[in-house]
C-alpha cells in the first residue's frame, strides 16, 4: 500500500536500480559481443578442419595422405583450396576474413556443409575474378551484387584484378568464396591448403583435436574451431577479470548510494513506524513489513531493469549492430547474471540500515515529537 500510494518516493528508487541493472547488463552484453563476433565471424571453421603446410609447399599431398590414412573418424570431402583475405568491420576495428578459393564443385559442397542457403545472383564462373559471399559478409562490407570486393588498388582487400561479387547466399554463417583457377593464376603465394570434413559433422571436433595433436611440431599448421574458442577465451580472460573488478566497484557504489537513499526513504517514515509501534505493532512485524517492501522495490526494480536492458539491447542491435552485421545478443544470460549482485547487495545494505534504525528506535520519542 505504501509503495503504491507513494509512487513519487518509490519510483526514483526503482529507477536507480533499473538504471544500474541496465548499465551493468549493457556493458557486459557489449563486451560479450566481441567474442560473440569472433565466434560468429569465424564460425565457419566449425564445419571443417583447415590444414596448411609449413615451410614446404610440397607437404600438402603428404598431409592429405596422412589424414586420409590415419583419421580417427570416417572422412567426408577433403578439398584442396587456396586462400586470400579481405577486411571486415567489427565493433573493435577491422578484422581479416578468409576468402577461400575453391573449384566449382567444392564451392557447392562447402556451401552445403555450412547449412546451405538461397543463392541470389549466380555462382562465380570458373577462372573469373568473381566472388560469392554470404549475406552477413555483404552486409558487413556494405556490398551488393556487382560491387567490387577485392581490388588491385585496395591494400586491405587486394587482388591483382578487381573481383566482383556475383552472388549472395542467404545464410547465417560468414563465407566468401572465389574460383580456385583465378587464384592459382593471379595470387601469391602458391600454397595449396586442405579443408578436411568429417563425414558426420558431429565427429568434426574429434577430428580437429586429433589433427591438432597429430601435427604438433610438424610441418603443418592446423586451424580448428576448438582452438579458436580456446584462444578467444584466453584473449578475454584478462579483460573479463578487469570487467569483474569494474562491475564489482559499480555494485559497491550503487549499493552505497541505494543504502543512503533507503535510509533517507525510511527516515521519512519514522513517524509511521513510531506510531505503529506505539499502537502495538512489534518491531519484528514492522521489520518484516519494511523488508518485504524493500524486497519488492529491489526485486521489482531488478526485474524491470532486466526487461528495460533487454529492450535497450534489442534497439541497439537493430539500430547500430545489425546494419553492419555486428553481433550482439540481447538475451545474453551472462550479461544478466552480472546484475544479480545488485539486488542482493542493495537488499543486504538496506536491511542493515533498517535493522540498525529499529534497534535504536524509541516510539515514545516519535509520538512525543522528539524524533520528528
Amino acid at each position: 500500500m505504501f509503495l503504491v500510494r507513494n509512487a513519487g518516493k518509490t519510483l526514483p528508487l526503482i529507477g536507480v536500480i533499473v538504471l544500474a541493472v541496465m548499465l551493468i547488463a549493457g556493458i557486459v552484453a557489449i563486451m560479450d559481443s566481441i567474442p560473440l563476433s569472433i565466434r560468429t565471424t569465424y564460425g565457419y571453421s566449425k564445419a571443417y578442419l583447415g590444414v596448411t603446410p609449413r615451410g614446404n609447399n610440397a607437404m600438402t599431398p603428404v598431409l592429405r595422405t596422412q589424414i586420409e590414412q590415419e583419421a580417427p573418424v570416417p572422412l567426408g570431402p577433403v578439398m584442396t583450396c587456396r586462400a586470400s583475405d579481405c577486411e571486415v568491420k567489427s565493433i573493435v576495428g577491422p578484422w581479416r576474413f578468409v576468402v577461400l578459393a575453391l573449384s566449382q564443385e567444392d564451392m557447392r559442397t562447402y556451401l552445403s556443409r555450412l547449412g546451405g542457403g538461397r543463392v541470389e545472383g549466380r555462382w562465380p564462373s570458373s577462372g573469373a575474378p568473381e566472388a560469392i559471399v554470404s549475406e552477413p559478409v555483404a552486409r558487413n562490407l556494405g556490398k551488393r551484387i556487382g560491387d567490387t570486393m577485392l581490388s588491385p588498388t585496395d591494400v586491405n582487400n587486394f587482388s591483382p584484378k578487381p573481383v566482383k561479387i556475383v552472388g549472395i547466399v542467404h545464410m547465417q554463417p560468414w563465407m566468401a568464396l572465389m574460383p580456385i583457377e583465378y587464384h592459382r593464376k593471379y595470387h601469391f603465394p602458391p600454397i595449396d591448403l586442405l579443408i578436411v570434413m568429417a563425414k558426420d559433422i558431429r565427429d568434426q571436433d574429434r577430428l580437429d583435436r586429433w589433427a591438432f595433436e597429430r601435427f604438433k611440431g610438424q610441418q603443418a599448421r592446423v586451424f580448428a574451431y576448438f582452438e579458436l574458442e580456446k584462444e578467444t577465451d584466453e584473449m578475454f580472460r584478462i579483460l573479463y577479470s578487469i570487467l569483474n573488478v569494474v562491475i564489482g566497484m559499480l555494485v559497491v557504489v550503487i549499493t552505497l548510494m541505494m543504502a543512503m537513499l533507503m535510509n533517507i526513504y525510511q527516515s521519512q517514515r519514522i513517524q509511521e513506524f513510531g506510531l505503529l509501534q506505539a499502537l502495538g505493532y512489534t518491531r519484528s512485524i514492522l521489520l518484516k513489513r519494511v523488508l518485504a517492501e524493500t524486497a519488492l522495490v529491489v526485486v521489482g526494480g531488478w526485474i524491470i531493469g532486466l526487461g528495460v536492458a533487454f529492450l535497450a539491447l534489442l534497439i541497439v542491435r537493430a539500430v547500430l549492430m545489425e546494419p553492419r552485421a555486428f553481433m550482439l545478443d540481447p538475451g545474453d544470460f551472462k550479461a544478466y547474471s552480472y546484475t544479480i549482485p545488485v539486488p542482493i547487495a542493495i537488499f543486504v545494505a538496506a536491511t542493515f540500515t533498517v535493522v540498525q534504525r529499529f534497534r535504536r528506535f524509541d516510539p515514545v520519542g516519535v509520538v512525543e515529537r522528539r524524533l520528528v
Binding site: 505503529l276 509501534q277 502495538g280 512525543e368
Partner: protein, 214 residues
C-alpha cells in the same frame, strides 16, 4: 485494572539522572475516567507511557490485571497495546497515505472491523469523509479519526496524552466529550495541563516535578 506501584522513571541528562516520575502509586479502575493534571514538563506524559507499557519503570512496577507489565516480553506488551489499550496522542498522527477509514483500521490489523470503523467515524461526524486523506481533514477532524482508531475493537483503557493541546477550546471540549461518550465501558486516562478539560473526570490527580501532589 492498572496498578502503578512505587514506579519511577529516570532519564539520563548528560550523565545526570533526572526523575521524570518518582515513586508513584496510582490505580486505574475499570470504567473510570482518570485525569492527570500537570504543567508542561511535570512528568504526566511519562507516567502515561509507564502505565501503558511504552516505558519501563526503573524502580517499582506497573501491573495490568495483576500481571507485572515490565515482566512481559515485547510481543506480549505490544499485544496489550494493540488489543486492550487505545491511544490518542497530543499530535493527531495519521498515516498520510491512508484514508480516514484506513487509518482507523490500522489499529486492528488482523480483524474484520470495517463496518465498526465506519460506524465509529459516522458517530464522530466523519461519515462523509471516510475516504479523505489526512491532508484533506482539519485538525479537529484528524483528532476525531485518532479517537475512532483508539476506540476500534472496544478497548479496556484509552490513554489520551494531551489530546486537546493543539485544538482551540471549543474543539478541545468536543474531543473530550467524544472520548467520554464513546469509550463505552472502558477506562479513560487523560493527561492534560488544562483543568477545564477534566470537568467530566471521575477523579483527577495532579503531578508536579514527577511526583503526585494530591
Amino acid at each position: 485494572m492498572i496498578q502503578v506501584d512505587k514506579a519511577s522513571l529516570v532519564y539520563n541528562d548528560h550523565g545526570r539522572d533526572v526523575y521524570a516520575c518518582r515513586s508513584i502509586d496510582l490505580e486505574v479502575k475499570d470504567g473510570e475516567f482518570l485525569g492527570i493534571l500537570g504543567p508542561s514538563g511535570s512528568g504526566k506524559s511519562s507516567l502515561l507511557y509507564l502505565m501503558c507499557g511504552l516505558k519501563t519503570p526503573h524502580e517499582g512496577q506497573v501491573l495490568y490485571r495483576g500481571r507485572v507489565v515490565q515482566a512481559m516480553d515485547e510481543q506480549e506488551r505490544a499485544s496489550l497495546r494493540l488489543n486492550r489499550f487505545g491511544f490518542v496522542f497530543q499530535y493527531p498522527y495519521l498515516l498520510g497515505y491512508l484514508s480516514a477509514l484506513e487509518n482507523v483500521l490500522v489499529a486492528q490489523p488482523s480483524g474484520h472491523r470495517r463496518a465498526e470503523a465506519v460506524a465509529l467515524l459516522e458517530s464522530l461526524g466523519l461519515g462523509d469523509k471516510l475516504h479523505r486523506l489526512p491532508h484533506e481533514l482539519s485538525g479537529g477532524e484528524k483528532q476525531r479519526v485518532c479517537i475512532a482508531r483508539a476506540l476500534l475493537g472496544g478497548r479496556e483503557v484509552i490513554f489520551a496524552d494531551e489530546p486537546t493541546a493543539n485544538l482551540d477550546h471549543r474543539n478541545g471540549v468536543a474531543v473530550v466529550e467524544t472520548l467520554v461518550a464513546s469509550r463505552g465501558t472502558g477506562s479513560l486516562v487523560m493527561v492534560t495541563h488544562d483543568p477545564t478539560m477534566l470537568e467530566k473526570a471521575d477523579r483527577v490527580v495532579t503531578i508536579a516535578d514527577g511526583e503526585l501532589v494530591q
